[in-house]
């Protein structure tokens, strides 16, 4: 049927105006609950405007009117099919505290990707370690920084500086912030590079492992294994697992993108990804504070044995946290509904 546009617009315009004002009201006050009559009215106006759109699409050449009706239908569709979370729902503290249990649950659900991240890092470490062990020329390439190449000099400087004066808390505070932001950024990159089907994530983890392995072998070779452990473990107990979890998130993302579009549950999957990121960011805050305020203090101020013990205790607590937190609840709750789920 071909429309008489003028008459059609004259007849239908009041209805469009009503829908428009109802939508404007709803959009400006997202917390507003619709009364049953308003809800029915919205549904009815939406259905009628959709019919009008259909008539204009198939019965007239009126691009402006069609655009206008499309916009109106799109807005009404959004109001009908999406319930915004109310402010009171968003600011429930328990909703946010739940991240602390949902994070290890997500970690366990996706543990195979963590295993893959660990494997890639170990491969890198092995290669870095072997290169330093059997090819001294590779030291300059793998360990560009002087303090990594010359462990003896580093240990001597650290221990003597510690004797003269302690780092001020002011410098450590500023340093910790730099560490936290840098580490979170690198972790985000590792997690985000999942979009390269995991290749970027793997390269980043491999490079990280390469450096770790080379440093570990270099220091151990020259008899500073205990110094290195005491230096790295207190913050590394959180920092290295965080990078691995970033790799886990990256591989998880890669697997998701490799799935056929219809097999993906994007809504649930991005929550899972986001949970891993939230959790690792919290871990990196702790790691940054430990690295700035604790790891940089060496013997004789802090005995190496004490530092290693603290690092080991952190590792054990972290393992307990990941393995057991939220385990009893897993059957009852999926753990992915914590991040501002709309009703």
């Amino acid at each position: 049927m071909i429309l008489d546009l003028e008459r059609f617009q004259l007849q239908e315009r009041p209805r469009w105006s009503r829908l428009e004002s109802l939508l404007a009201d709803l959009e400006s006050r997202p917390d507003r609950l619709l009364k049953p009559t308003e809800s029915e009215l919205l549904q009815e106006l939406y259905a009628q405007t959709a019919v009008d759109l259909n008539r204009v699409t198939h019965g007239a050449l009126a691009p402006e009117l069609r655009q206008y009706l499309e916009r109106l239908v799109a807005r009404a569709y959004a109001e009908l099919y999406y319930a915004r979370p109310t402010r009171s729902e968003l600011w429930q503290p328990c909703r946010w505290v739940r991240i602390l249990t949902a994070f290890p649950e997500a970690f366990r659900r996706q543990s195979r990707y963590f295993a893959l991240a660990l494997l890639v890092t170990l491969l890198g470490s092995a290669l870095g370690g072997l290169a330093v062990r059997f090819d001294p020329a590779s030291v300059d390439v793998l360990l560009p920084a002087d303090y990594l190449r010359n462990p003896g000099l580093r240990v001597h400087q650290e221990e003597n500086t510690q004797n003269r004066h302690l780092n001020s808390a002011q410098i450590e505070a500023a340093f910790s912030a730099q560490l936290i932001t840098h580490n979170i950024e690198v972790s985000l990159l590792a997690a985000g590079l999942g979009v390269t089907f995991g290749i970027g994530t793997a390269l980043l983890l491999f490079e990280n492992g390469l450096l770790l392995g080379a440093v570990a072998v270099r220091y151990t070779q020259q008899g500073f294994g205990l110094f290195l452990t005491a230096w790295l473990l207190p913050h590394g107990a959180f920092e290295i697992p965080s990078i691995l979890i970033a790799g886990q998130a990256g591989f998880y993302l890669a697997r998701l993108l490799l799935r056929r579009r219809e097999d993906r549950n994007m809504r649930q999957s991005i929550r899972e990804w986001l949970l891993l990121i939230c959790g690792l960011a919290l871990m990196l805050v702790w790691a940054g504070l430990m690295e700035a305020f604790f790891s940089q203090r060496h013997a004789p101020v802090l005995p190496y044995g004490f530092k290693v013990a603290i690092g080991a205790a952190e590792l054990v607590l972290l393992a307990i946290y990941f393995l057991f937190t939220g385990r009893r609840e897993t059957g009852a709750r999926t753990g992915v509904g914590v991040l501002a789920e709309g009703p």
Binding site: Q9, R71, V73, I180, E185, V195, L253, W273, L274, L339
Partner: protein
């Protein structure tokens, strides 16, 4: 359900609702998105600098802690500005609002808060190696103009120019249309003109005053010649006395205007109705 169409000027997302209604949303191209991002960056920088000065003043006696707080706050604001505004302000930051852009779910629904966070956290990838080169390439190669952050979050950016109900179509209304003297040819014009061609004629007339005079003459001449030679040939004695613009005005009147009412009953039998245009 969604489909998409992209050409250099009119990329759009077509959404089919569960009721079977199909509507289209115009997608935002890279240029307005870039402008909005530049504005947002300027706002973030201003906020971060202001906060930095404030914190240094507050922590005057403990500058290290001032630097720590400022560094962490700057880092958080960098991500949270976009995520919180888009999440709580229905897909818009200040820059997007100014440039009439909105981030939505790729099913045509409003953006969810976690989607806002994901697309903003993914900026670390899109910003690589510098100046959002990766994100820009992703937008240009995506059928629905998504950067990597959008692909992961399942979002897209639409253009949202405020639209009012169109006024009556004054450009096609006229006192007298000489094409009505030839109902069969006018009918042929209505049957043969594709919707795109009809919209082109309407646009050309509506944008009359935006076109330079030589461009207007040329466009109108080409359109009129095309209609006359390929679509519906009106008699020479009529065409000779009409300017190209008048020819197109008559054609638009025939296609869109009141004359249809007078033409249709004369020209059509019950089985011979035109294809809807």
């Amino acid at each position: 359900m969604k489909t998409s169409r992209q050409d250099p000027t009119t990329a759009e997302l077509a959404v089919a609702t569960p009721e079977g209604v199909l509507f289209r949303l115009p997608l935002a191209g890279p240029a307005p998105r870039l402008y909005a991002m530049l504005l947002d960056t300027a706002i973030v920088l201003a906020a971060v600098n202001g906060l930095g000065y404030l914190l240094y003043w507050i922590f005057a006696k403990a500058p290290g802690f001032g630097v720590m707080t400022a560094t962490l706050a700057e880092f958080a604001i960098g991500f949270a500005y976009g995520a919180l505004l888009e999440g709580f302000w229905n897909g818009q930051t200040l820059g997007k609002r100014l440039f009439h852009l909105r981030v939505i779910d790729d099913c045509g629904l409003p953006l969810r808060i976690e989607q806002a966070w994901v697309r903003n956290l993914m900026r670390v990838v899109d910003a690589l190696p510098l100046a959002y080169l990766v994100g820009g390439i992703s937008v240009l190669t995506s059928p629905i103009m998504q950067r990597f952050g959008d692909r992961v979050a399942g979002t897209l950016v639409i253009r949202e120019t405020p639209l009012a109900a169109p006024a009556d179509q004054a450009s096609t209304r006229q006192k007298y249309n000489s094409f009505t003297q030839y109902p069969a040819i006018a009918m042929r014009l209505r049957r043969m003109a594709t919707p795109e061609l009809a919209a082109l004629i309407q646009d050309a007339l509506r944008r009359r005053n935006e076109l330079a005079s030589y461009a207007r003459r040329e466009i109108y001449r080409e359109l009129a010649a095309y209609l006359q030679s390929e679509i519906a040939a009106f008699p020479d004695e009529l065409v000779e006395i009409l300017s190209d613009e008048q020819y197109l005005t008559n054609a638009a009147g025939t296609l869109f205007g009141d004359e249809r009412r007078t033409i249709l009953p004369i020209a059509l039998g019950a089985q011979d109705r035109p294809n809807p245009v």
